[in-house]
Symmetry: C2
Subunit: 230 residues, 2 copies
Amino acid sequence: MSRIVSSQGPKTAPKPNLVTAAPSFRLYYFNIKARGEVIRLIFHAVGAKFDDVRVEDSTGWAKLKTDMPLRTLPTLEFDGMQLGQTMSIARYLALEFGLRGQGVYEQALVDSAAETADDLLSDFLEVVFIDRNSKKAEAKRNFVEHILPQTLQQLDRYQKQHSSEYGYIVGNGLTFADLAVYNVLDQILTSGMIELGYYQRFRYPTELRKRIMTHGGLMRYLNNRPRTKI
Amino acid sequence: MSRIVSSQGPKTAPKPNLVTAAPSFRLYYFNIKARGEVIRLIFHAVGAKFDDVRVEDSTGWAKLKTDMPLRTLPTLEFDGMQLGQTMSIARYLALEFGLRGQGVYEQALVDSAAETADDLLSDFLEVVFIDRNSKKAEAKRNFVEHILPQTLQQLDRYQKQHSSEYGYIVGNGLTFADLAVYNVLDQILTSGMIELGYYQRFRYPTELRKRIMTHGGLMRYLNNRPRTKI
């Protein structure tokens, strides 16, 4: 949450304007799903307005880069502040929007589940970005045969232990951990590495998918979002 | 924070015992620094007692593994609960111990800085665990010549923007982000990849090191901790 430019105001956090107290959010990310998509899902899950800035090419990114606090995307701007790091942005917004869990214990459990989803996303993207075909085939097999089913088993166990509601990983309502899990499983599926039936062996992913498919705000976005390769 | 065994009590979070309200913490990790060390530093920074269980070999780990909620270490046990994922544990403890920053904005900034330190640790450990000598040399050079100095520059800028106190990255006191940064820079240094002088080009790491070196609790631990390869 670095200040964007000095013209944005004084150095202390601005006091909320009582007339238009809701902050105006602007998310900068590339026009792909990859890391940034979980943040978009959080906004759409709660119906919060945000400016979904999609940087299209390397020229655009080169211009933007030095304005970003950690020289990375995604970056979130709001209240004249800037915040970098995907999962830090996700945790901040989840807290603002009531998707962080109830109380410190549950919030820690949600946090830990979201990290597990993020680890899986890192493993998936590592395979996606391998450019040598011979290495890619081996990495893909290891991911689909070992990393993915092990993680899904872990998540199933975790959900059984921490929620009595099929389809929510912790507690009795949607949290950003559910969105993080949905996001990575959706990206793996649309990459073609597996078919939809793959997930049906696992209860939580299957039930989570049903929850998402009946969520109006998310479905509107998922049906209309830009089609991107990654 | 899965329940350890059913004999630990009822399924709801146990009520604090007013006589011995402080929870009893047990940290499971391997006898190395790597990922788990930042959690040990948090305990020592605030002088909180914990059981520092160091799993010594693969036999010990094989026995323990199925009891861990995500089948991973580090895992923290407390109040009959279990919590996995290094940074989730760190954030939980930092909140409990007052090392999380003040207010939601500052906490988000601290969170983001800690994630940046954790990314650097991941990059460092990736180089450490490469087993082919030819690939390792190239990866080490890339890390020392590009990744490390770029991250240190980012952290220096970040600190300048968010703290007026040399040696603290956000706000005017120690947070777990400072401990995460100290931890990774210390591990890089003791690996022999660089010499101490390397850090002197960067203000924040230099000042942070001074802060840590004059912190009684941390120095006692740092001078007496087990000497490990990683």
